[in-house]
Symmetry: C2
């Protein structure tokens, strides 16, 4: 992942269909993007995104959290809207405490939830939707 993304504005001839693209990351390189608390504590790292194949929206960012020396990490899907990308840090800020993350829906590293129904997504959305705003 490039750590030197800059926010350039487009110049020159522009197609009417063109939108200003910046801060792009390839999906095969999202692994390892850091996730921080608002106070700057590193909470974990991104493992992958869950992308809606029809709309192209990132629905969840799955973060590896916890564990020691890489042992026993759990995977926490975070709804996209809980994250804010911080260019200076080169990672995401999530407005959650460590305790709120520890209590959140999660699964073991070698497992995968059933994303084909909307039930698991509902659990995740309900949990994060019900948290007090920080």
């Amino acid at each position: 992942m490039s750590a030197s993304m800059t926010n350039n504005t487009a110049s020159g001839a522009m197609s009417p269909n063109m939108t200003c693209k910046h801060d792009l990351i390839s999906s095969d390189r999202v692994e390892g993007t850091s996730v921080y608390s608002p106070s700057g504590e590193k909470l974990g790292t991104v493992k992958y995104f869950m992308v809606d194949k029809a709309s192209g929206d990132v629905a969840y960012v799955v973060m590896s959290f916890g564990g020691f020396l890489g042992m026993g990490n759990s995977f926490h899907p975070l709804p996209w809207k809980t994250l804010h990308y911080d260019k200076e840090r080169g990672g995401y800020i999530v407005a959650l405490t460590r305790e709120q993350l520890e209590a959140a829906p999660a699964y073991a590293e070698d497992m995968s939830p059933d994303w084909t129904s909307s039930q698991y997504g509902s659990q995740v959305d309900t949990y994060y939707g019900g948290l007090p705003k920080m």
Copy 2:
């Protein structure tokens, strides 16, 4: 990648923040999703998405195209809006001819364009924006 995604509607108690999620694919598994022409000809396979880190939108789908027995493939970034996900085929349909794809911006497999400025994205958007509608 699961080939048996079904379009389930949510049921049961729903959080007001919940949206119906379905057809999710993890970003580390997008590689290999097939891309077809409208007539059903397989044109190539997805290698990765380019995701906007701030908005979470998939800006481009990078497709491996051409080559023989895996040799000499070129990578073609396709704007998200040129693609339609077809659940039955388990892949994307792109409303382009093989000739239009062959003439499109592309790069060699071991290269990477400069996505940090918006110039390369502009080239891609301008090319696809200027094609006659099929």
